[in-house]
Symmetry: C2
Subunit: 434 residues, 2 copies
């Protein structure tokens, strides 16, 4: 089985099934199609499938022409999971969020597996890409697959290979970001390396699925903790009358042993605020506390409130209350130059300001209309930035420093800027660093 | 005054006084002498002064020929602080340790200042390089200097410029490591940039002495916290049956957003275990807790015990107690390829093992004889490593992985290796990762 599958993968004759057509799955679809594989995309969302079949995109940084090209090369999207049987490889790219008690919510992964199980067959490889705690592949996927009577490592192959997508990063693509891959057995690993070897420049094999799962978590824990640290340092420096951004820039001139991370209004996105707690949850099984993760979570999730406090005190100094003030939030995506609103601290700040009685508007060149979100509702459109519109706000809160903003225009016309990104280097009475 | 001093500095006609001739001051002496300045070295330690006057070195990585060259070019070392008056610049490079309550011990800095004060004169620049909390230069040095009736910024100039020495780093020298410099006034900063501009390739001016003080602390806090994080991750991964070193190597293949730090038996050296607590202490004045620093301190200082636990359990598995076992500690310097023993976790581990009844020996090619230390006493010499000597120990504890060790020889002949550095990639029954 293994040799046959390896052959099909290496010959690009294999059919690649990608399950979950979001920020992770869709770029992978395009990349497999690009090198000549037949690709089947599976998703439960009929709307996405329809758009893809029409060659249309629903992700800002993925062009329609790229999707059209894949479609022209035979890419098919479907909600019909019976297609899974045709695929030689099934790559699972579904969300792994937290529930409201900060516990792993594996429902997307497990529901996907339940949908796939009836269509598994001898000679397939299953790869999980969703970020998750060490042990998920072994403890959750393996028994489900073997319940079909398929022996993993002989009949069918199982790997974990974490996604490392970084939307908006101009320097790296799916192809050029090295891909870590761990197999349940040596044979599984061999197949996994072949699966990705044709589309990714460098595949990094590790000794187990657990090691691969832990690798992805360590990467994002590293970021969450480093951002937590600079956020704490920001608060300390601010009290001491020191500009943390100046300090970070100076420290970054050290050519070894230091790497700059930047403070902000809080963590956002689908990875950094969430992934670390997958380890926290699993560690409890071993009687361990992940104290850095918990501290980072605490510090980072307090940042929106810290920034709102800066807004309130800057307004107060001008004899104004938040209640009744007109406040413009600049940038509501969670990071610069993307349209992704997931877990965006801007949204928390907008709600907080609204609750305090402010008249809140926003401007985001990447988000023209405030989208429907599960837990947040604003009936707003992005306002146009010009001298007049800017000048009419009591406070402009710079939350996400998109390159598309005209920062000089804003500086010249705003009554008051609260800068949560360290964008403004100048010292001016109407600019407050938050 | 300022123009005259700038001229003398830029013409390399100024006399440079370096106060404190240790790991930081001595390289600076050599560098100033190298470019042609007349240098006076001041230290309270007569033994050091005598050695230097004879062209001899007391620091492993500084060669005698380098010192002899400086002496030939007119470098003089002395314990007589009246020489300070001759110097146009006084650069203070003295230790800033913690007392036993983890509070800043500024006594070396303040005693030095007290010795210098009578010899200060118009037209000098005083630069503090010792790592310290934000505000030290303003709050401690400034009033002392002005008590002499000298107006800082007019008569005399005051800067803070943190040392960034990294002994044992083959890629960077005093000259090529960019130097941050903050002045008490703009004139002070101008003089500071001139002071260092002739000997350091890149001087990085910052807006205040506080910003410069904070910069150095942030650099070392960053390291302490990142090492704390991987140490915590090591414990978690170990319990989950995952090799953290494999995970770090895999994560390090991510070309953005991740930087590898490595776990070990604890922090050592004169910077990373100490410096962060300078900020912790100062932050209390502002009612703030530096929680990441405190957590990192707690986790890192628990690591020697963690490693000893691994030694005990590995011996126990072999039906041996620590009590009565012969244990060889490899590497007692605090980091690889240096001879620096300050705060070395190896020493704590040796004491712990001795207290538990082990017969402890050590081998360190950089430390032939166990030095006299204020709080630690071992009457030991570094043993010779060969097949026979290695095989006679019940356990070999790899604490510091100097390149000079023959790791294959050790692996082949040791009964048991406890590897606290992740040096051994192989899986073998007699190698335990700690």
């Amino acid at each position: 089985m293994k040799q046959q599958l390896l052959q099909r993968l290496n010959d690009r004759a294999a059919i690649i099934g990608v399950v979950g057509l979001g920020y992770v799955g869709l770029p992978l679809v395009l990349r497999y199609a690009e090198v000549g594989y037949k690709v089947i995309g599976l998703d439960i969302d009929q709307a996405k499938v329809d758009l893809l079949q029409q060659g249309k995109s629903y992700i800002e940084h993925i062009t329609e022409s790229a999707i059209q090209l894949a479609v022209d090369r035979g890419f098919e999207a479907t909600t019909d999971f019976t297609y899974a049987e045709q695929a030689d490889a099934l790559i699972i790219c579904v969300p792994t969020p937290l529930n409201k008690y900060r516990e792993p919510d594996l429902s997307f992964v497990l529901d996907t597996m339940d949908s796939l199980i009836p269509h598994l067959r001898v000679g397939q490889v299953v790869s999980l890409e969703s970020t998750t705690y060490p042990g998920t592949t072994d403890e959750e996927l393996l028994p489900r697959i073997e319940s079909r009577g398929l022996k993993v490592g002989n009949d069918i192959f199982l790997v974990y290979s974490p996604e490392r997508e970084d939307p908006g990063n101009p320097n790296f693509t799916t192809r050029t970001i090295p891909k870590v891959c761990g197999g349940h057995t040596q044979a599984c690993q061999d197949v996994g390396v072949a699966l990705y070897g044709q589309v990714i420049d460098r595949v990094v094999p590790v000794s187990s699925t657990r090691a691969a799962e832990m690798t992805k978590l360590l990467e994002n824990i590293h970021r969450a903790v480093n951002i937590g640290l600079v956020n704490e340092m920001k608060i300390v420096a601010d009290k001491m009358g020191i500009d943390i951004h100046e300090v970070i820039r100076a420290a970054a001139t050290k050519p070894f042993g230091f790497v700059p991370y930047y403070p902000g209004p809080g963590l956002g996105g689908h990875c950094i605020p969430i992934d670390p707690f997958y380890l926290t949850w699993k560690a409890r099984e071993y009687g361990l506390h992940t104290r850095f993760i918990e501290l980072a979570g605490e510090v980072n999730s307090a940042m929106p409130d810290y920034v709102i406090g800066k807004v309130a005190s800057a307004l107060n100094q001008r004899m104004k209350s938040v209640n009744g003030s007109r406040i413009l939030v600049l940038g509501i995506a969670y990071k610069k130059n993307v349209d992704d609103m997931r877990e965006s601290p801007s949204v928390f700040m907008m709600e907080k300001l609204r609750d305090l009685g402010a008249d809140v508007q926003y401007c985001d060149p990447h988000v023209p209309v405030f989208p429907k979100m599960r837990e947040h509702h604003f009936d707003l459109k992005s306002i146009e930035l010009n001298a007049l519109s800017i000048s009419q706000f009591d406070c402009v809160l710079l939350a996400t420093d998109h390159d598309k903003f005209d920062f000089t225009l804003i500086e010249k016309n705003a009554q008051l800027i609260v800068d949560a990104r360290g964008k403004y280097l100048v010292r001016a009475d109407h600019i407050v660093k938050a």
